[in-house]
Subunit: 463 residues, 4 copies
């Protein structure tokens, strides 16, 4: 295990991205190709089970493959060679038909798609877990006032429920996106050397259809060896998710600051300590998620930067994907998993939220006063009056309410108790409640849809 | 006009991304907000037309706004101030209700969405024009043999029609994506200072709904001031498109090389000349499109890198979007437009394609021979036999057919005329024809769909 | 003027990056080329002044050039054509020798280098101004305690002077880098069509040397039309600077938060207001600088992604530089300028710094206690003792000092007043003072060096 | 071994970037810290050897460390804990002083710097090997004509020696840069928890100096926990190198195309084969190097995007470096190594170069004719005359020489044999020879410098 793996990744997905899984993906392709070839009578019926029997990654020597890959330029070439030898030992006749009609990239791309499907299968319930946790926060803290902050300055009161609803809303959009991604990205790659399936004569489309059915992948209109938009779209989905996770982590990091202290990652023995400062409780998850969010745009750029692939097979740009794709999926999955754990146990300090609302001596209610005055004065004049009052309050260290109470215009327009009421956060929450309701309704409405978006049961060789 | 604008951009879209258009986008928001406020009786009915009458970009002083923006930190603040003053001159009462209930980012984000809609409106027919041009190439050159090249080496024969079908298939996927993007991205931004619409009391949702209807934008579940996934998804769509355009341009650049010379950009007086070499005819469009494809991933990374925005309003990361979003749209649109023009007039040299197929003295037919022999020998043994023959042919500068004709095994398995037939490109095109049919059918099937995806007619203030 | 220009850019540099400046850069090249040709007797002596006289950007029609650029593929071709016509009107003979021996890229690259030199000239004193402002802060607040924060949590006390010294140290490194960049990047581009100066026969090196001398640029070993490492290194220097500016801005944004309020950007009427919240004072400079820091990595990636340029002249990747290079310089210069202004007037609230140090009820002094106890107990045992005490203090809301005072081990090892002294920030600043001295000494030592690094006076046509 | 490691990486450097090496880097720091503490009498003299004895990575349980890292948030914390326990077993007293005065980041950053130094030590001779190979090509093919290509079109003749000299010149610049990088980047990180070395009282600078001396690293003016410009500059150097390697690989890929076939990667059994096409010989090294060049800009962007680190220790952005830095170094080293091997055995087909020069029927000599005519006609008029002749030649498939021979103006100005001579590539090479001489002289002049730039011998614990 890599030293930094448990920190940054999620083992349930990491295992799907390992070298072993990469080999198995290609071997699943080869096995299915043999079955499809047999079914369409392109290769002898008996060859299929003989080939499929050897399509198990644990039979292969990873180190030998690695060294041969350096020579060949891709891992499918030595894999096919090793596979042929393994089959040959048991069934010389069958060995003749290994990889029949395919090219390396068919095996590699389809293998990746199978890994991707497994990763999407693992991620979907975790995403739902995260959004359920956020929905719970939105509901529970629906009426808990907290200072909203814009440009990193206290702005107006809002509720912590609204904040959680905003997070929830974004995550639920990603659930929709990932559901749709299955439709778009889980497609077969099968074109033979140059996309014409020439080696299969006139049987190419039949084999392709049988192969897609066997692997339960969609049959694309055309092979896509150098049309990488689906690949780029896939990584964009992971990067989008990571961006939204990063936004939640950014918020947590800000709310967890010593001087603000409204939110804390769940405590655990030894978690977030320091090698030298005994009092520290560092927001480890925030760091992990923000690290992923910091790395992701560059990795995304690498994949998009590799899209202009040459002619029928790219030189270098295709190769640039090989290590980058699993890195992107692994980082996104790691960030998702760690944040899900954290949000499920998030510590919320409602007392501190209230305290912080009182820090500005009423300034946070300035817009509330302004909008009330504006009905008589107009928005701009009211803005200027209150802005001036804020400056006086700040300069003299007084409460805005007291400063306003002395203002002649204010006196004329507002009774004392009317003025006082404007400084109650609960009175200036607008449609916070409806916002939360809308997010929760949308969330609840996803339940059946989301499960439908998950993959149907598949035959045992499906992935 | 910027010196490089006609080269890199498309004026039909560039004008939608100008400062003027940016201002108008915000002003359209302010006008619609006034109407929505009036309709929901949040502001006086008479205020709406008075405000809307001044919401015309040409009434504003761009330089004064620019200078004030540097102070205020965003252009909406001085815009609202100037607008208020303009309204005031005519109608003091109405001026009180300018920007009622909104925050700067509501105007800026919605304004951008309106600019985006106009850009999508302009791009959709251009995209269709490009894909129609590609469909035409696919059909016309359906049976024109050309050397397929993998790793920048001649591989097998294919047809130029297949190549064009591959381009077409990708572009048609983008048309679907852009159609869907309208549904996802064309949403209202309206949350007031912190997303609760507090300044509107309990009327927030009513105003929001009226505003969305007025602008013919979708009403999102929640405001999205710091949930930028829709923005990032939007730029990803443009970057995806640019990547596929770059792939086509890369192919053209390769096929246009002096030694290959199969494709040429349409000639025009003065086009692609050199300041010093009189014989040059540079592929200017390929350069322009590849330049966009080179720049795009980094611009994309900037927007994704800005996703983790702080709390209720981001600091710096939101600002990072302001110049980047129009740059992305403008570059993509420019690349699309220039490539569309070029593909509509692409010069195809079928004679040169044929000539190039003969360059390797038969090596390009190696797989054809191998697959035929493989039926008797098995794939791997046939591969090794033919590989060795290729080496002998290369070493002695002989034709592969002649070398093979002397091989004992080959002699046993193939008659002379059977062997000869394997060296005819038309005989080794697999299901090229079906591939083209599939792409054309999919293309034709899009016709009604694509037009449905385009926006319905909108009220005059719609965008 | 662009709407967002005064916000994001610095007009003193922006003007050096304008289209006008771009044209003038190329024209300065053409004028110098004519003089160098005359001096080396490659063209008639009289041609030089006749050509040079027309090398003034204001004589050219930008719009016509823009349109011709779209055809030609680069702006140098139509520029040379217009220039030739202008010269022709006055001196037919001289017109024959315009652009003699050069290629478009020679003019464009050298023109850019001249623009770069002017930008570096403008930036150097601004950088010094910034570092002087930081040095002043380091000196003035040398002994002002402030909470150091790690992982966005209070860690130990430090002084604000140390923090400023850290900023200063980085900026002074950039000053060295920019000084060195002059040596590396300010080189002539001159190779003719393919880098052999073939059009000049055997006079190529003579003309090149004369041209370099005339423009006061270094003569490189070879032309570098497709060796773009100097270009990439140049933008890396700007991106490095922007990263360090971003770090300062990030710190300011954190220290300026409502609940922390230790630093504020200088107040100015209307600065950092909100369109709706009258109390807001947004840190506009922090936003501007962070926006630049957010955009820069992607722009940098674009230039590095364009390095693998084809053969003797790149296709598309060279073009990707044209708009990107000025964007990078302009954004960096804008961030530098705005931050320099802000740091020169930074408001420092030392009272608030002190207050915040007291927020944790002694936890911030945990390491101080630990290290004292560690002398007897060992580092790890002391760490565990104090960590446990911190947890008790937190749980019960008590001061760490009081909790520790009750601990049996602590009682044995520390007298009460010894324990108390450990909770004085001034007692636990380590070598803060020496750190500041080191930074200031290094800063002062740069004074002569920095000015030497600036360019010597140049002849009037130098840039 | 990772499946793709031998393809993309270089094992001599990969081993320096492994988890084991990462641990050893931190342990070397801890050992040196103990010695420095003892030397400055901050910890007991006997503690140093007791601690140093356990600072061997093989004594540590990587899996336990990995799991503990996920909790702690960084690997140094559990490492220090395990180290303390190991020391404790032998020497309880010494165990008290493990990690005395340091913070996690001191160990991690310095550990990385030590890994970096080892990597630079490995890379320097490989870089020299590459540049020597390029110098050899420049010398050997000094007079070998080849078509220079601009915008991927044949332009003028040049020599293959000039092309190699251009590659060489760039690589030699990188050698200078890497030499200088040692001075800039190989600095100690040592600041304690917040950069004041508070835990060491007034001994901080003494310990720091002793530590720097022990590790033979430079002592920086200040700790740089959140000033990451040196880190970013370091990765920029690797990215710059990779960009130039990518440029060479791009050229090879173009020259190796079937239709051009001027250069080939050295043949080796099984190298660059295809899983299905027996005739293929794919340029594997070009693919590997271009893959690195494609991935690098995004990785670079990630590190630059992580520069704005918070206050005294970053949250997430620092963490973003941990996996990215070794990835960058490893990819660059892999590309360097594979390209060095390839360039040392590059197959050069001078016959094919000559053949290709004849492909255009004289068009490639158009500038030569133009410049000769220009002496009489002026550059622009000559340009137009020759441009028109080129068009006629192309249209009629005739040789440019023959077309020109019929031109009235040409007839007047040039005798037949004069015209013929203009179509000899050897006659239009300008100062190609001087260019090569300049590059070779610069290369030879580096020999002593380069070796001086390499590190002096170090004490055994040095890295």
């Amino acid at each position: 295990m890599n030293l930094l793996e448990p920190l940054f990744r999620w083992n349930a997905v990491e295992i799907l991205l390992s070298d072993r899984a990469r080999l198995q993906g290609m071997l699943d392709f080869e096995a299915a190709l043999a079955r499809a070839g047999a079914r369409t009578r392109v290769i002898p019926e008996a060859a299929a089970p003989a080939i499929a029997a050897k399509c198990r990654a644990e039979l292969f020597d990873n180190e030998a493959l690695a060294n041969a890959t350096a020579l060949a330029g891709n891992p499918a070439i030595p894999l096919v060679r090793q596979l042929t030898k393994l089959v040959e030992k048991e069934d010389k006749e069958a060995a003749r038909f290994v990889h029949w009609g395919a090219t390396s990239q068919d095996a590699m791309d389809t293998g990746f798609v199978l890994q991707l499907r497994a990763a999407l299968d693992a991620i979907a319930p975790e995403l739902q877990k995260l959004s359920d946790a956020l929905a719970k926060l939105a509901k529970k803290y629906r009426a808990t006032p907290i200072a909203a902050r814009t440009w990193m300055q206290q702005a107006l009161p809002t509720t912590f429920g609204v904040k959680a609803a905003g997070w929830l809303d974004a995550i639920d959009r990603h659930r929709v996106r990932f559901g749709e991604l299955r439709q778009r990205a889980l497609v077969l790659q099968f074109g033979g050397a140059v996309g014409t399936l020439a080696a299969l004569g006139d049987k190419g489309m039949d084999v392709a259809a049988a192969l897609a059915e066997d692997l339960q992948l969609r049959l694309p209109t055309l092979p896509w060896h150098t049309q990488r938009d689906r690949i780029a779209e896939t990584v964009a989905a992971f990067a989008l998710l990571t961006g939204s996770l990063g936004k939640i982590a950014r918020d947590i990091s800000l709310h967890a600051q010593t001087e603000i202290a409204e939110l804390h990652e769940p405590a655990a023995k030894g978690r977030g300590g320091s090698s030298t400062m005994p009092q520290k409780r560092n927001p480890v998850t925030a760091a992990v998620v923000l690290a992923a969010a910091t790395r992701m745009p560059g990795l995304l750029a690498a994949v998009f930067g590799a899209m202009a692939q040459e002619e029928e097979r790219g030189l270098g740009n295709w190769h640039a994907e090989w290590e980058t794709l699993p890195e992107i999926i692994g980082l996104a999955a790691g960030a998702l998993h760690h944040l899900t754990e954290t949000m499920s146990g998030l510590e919320v300090d409602t007392k501190k939220m209230k305290e912080n609302l009182e820090r500005t001596r009423g300034l946070i209610f300035a817009e509330a006063v302004q909008m009330t005055l504006a009905r008589s004065l107009g928005r701009m004049a009211a803005h200027e009056l209150v802005e001036a009052a804020c400056k006086r309050a700040l300069a003299k260290g007084r409460h805005l309410r007291d400063v306003l109470a002395e203002d002649r215009t204010v006196k004329k327009l507002l009774k004392k108790n009317e003025l006082a009421r404007l400084f109650n956060p609960a009175e200036y929450l607008g449609v916070a409640d409806s916002m939360i309701d809308r997010a929760l309704q949308a969330h609840n409405a996803m339940r059946p849809k989301a499960s439908a978006a998950r993959a149907p049961k598949r035959a045992k060789n499906g992935d």
